[in-house]
Amino acid sequence: QAEKIRIALAETPSDELAAFFVALDRAKANGLDYEWTAFSDEELAIQSVLSGQMDIGFGTPYAAMQRSRAPLRIIFQLSKLKFFPVTTSKYSSLKDMDGEPILLHSRGGGTDSIANVIEERIGIKFGDRSYVSGSSNRVAALLGGRADATIIDLSNKNKLMRSEAGAEFNVLEMFDVEASDEALFGNLDWIKNNEKDVAIFVNALVSTWQDMHKDPSIIRRETSPDGPIGQLPAEILAELDGFYSDAVAGGLYDPNGGGRKAANADMEWYSAAGQLDGTPDTLNIEDFWYLAPLDAAMKQ
């Protein structure tokens, strides 16, 4: 097919997207023609797919799926909601956080839903929630003494805890989350019209994700030096291996692309977090996921 597929990223290419770009390179070798645009946040990527200006987007558009008239479907889980409550040494467990202020990413966003679920499961109620987007910015706020508790992602947690200042902070014990943080989605009509491309793409993702689990350093090795990741400053590239071995060890990526397991976890998680109306058992997975390409890829 002459037409390029258009991919809407939800952030600018950086270490976390290295694996995705490796997969894209593999897909390209198999004849997938693509272009990508980075949006500043997930909502924009979702909007762009809603408007039909992009074909495949990054994010977890459950609310949009339920509320808008567009048939959006997820085809692949890119990463899980692996976030960690980090505090100053004032607190040592989530129980201590009852009534205490916390710094989160954005209202209605992933960390907000984590906080909601924490409240529900642990039986506490956080105090004031304030919002600063970007885990690294929240780390900075923590370091700058502007906050005592926040929820940050895996790589920032590791960076913080390994730094000299790490001793002053606690990572609070938390339950495991299987729900998606980032997933690939598209308009169902488009997916069906472009079965072949989607198949190549999902195959490439699955193979990359599985290879990565065997050896995280393939990401660094397979990163094309002329691609958007290869062009990053040396400081960032140097940390790539560390990031992916941490990520694999921490279970950030599902080598099987999520599939039904992820879908079920999402139903549960996002309805608990308030982004989906209804209870998990009334929700129909087929309204949110389109599993055919992933199933086909897993068979190979």
Binding site: S51, R67, S68, S106, G109, S130, N137, A140, A141
Partner: protein, 253 residues
Amino acid sequence: MIKRANLLKIVSAVVLCSAWEIAGRIPVSYAFPTFLDSMRSFFEMIGNGMMLEAYKETLQPLVIGVLISAFLGIGLGLWIGLNNFFDWLFSPIFIVMQAAPLAALIPLLVLAYGIGLTSKVMVVCIMAMPVIVLNTSGAVRNTPESFKEMGKSFLASRASILLRIIIPAASPVIFAGLRLGVSAGFIGAILAELKITPTGVGDIITYSRSIADYPSMYAAIFSIILLAVLFLNLIEKLETVLFKGNQRGYVSD
């Protein structure tokens, strides 16, 4: 009998809103609500007090920031316009400030000033001040020579030349700068709410966007634009009251 100017305003507003409604009905995009839906959310949010609540938050940094920028900005602008040394020393700073991609700087501001009122006021000031300063100083430099000469010959002190000649002569451009400054201040306030911590109207925008409640999102955008326009009309009134004789009508008349 409605004045023609007002009639035109109404007619063009009706045209624009219908265009919106039609675009929403096509729809241009699933993320683009109709005018009527947006208005419904708008009045709902007014009805349930959400709007009021939000504006209480949004207006605080905005008003403080705009007031600081207006007074400090006009003062600095006059100073820069009158004194070559300060022009040389400070103009570049304001040009730099104007060019500063604030959105990128916000994380740093948060680091320096936290996520409270201070950093939001800072954002508003950084946005609003440069235009006010640069417009004022430019206008001051362009004051017609013969007015200043006249003032001098009638022994106007430096202060009265400033107050009675330079400022009135420069007032149209100063007010244009003020208008721009206020609008930039609005941009700053929203940017701060979008990028620092979502509170007030910025929160309605981001939150309703994240739950794909697009009518509410557009209603919030609509309300902030409405407010900005009201603000500006206020400034315009102020200008007409203060400098009546500067209204010299249209060349075509």
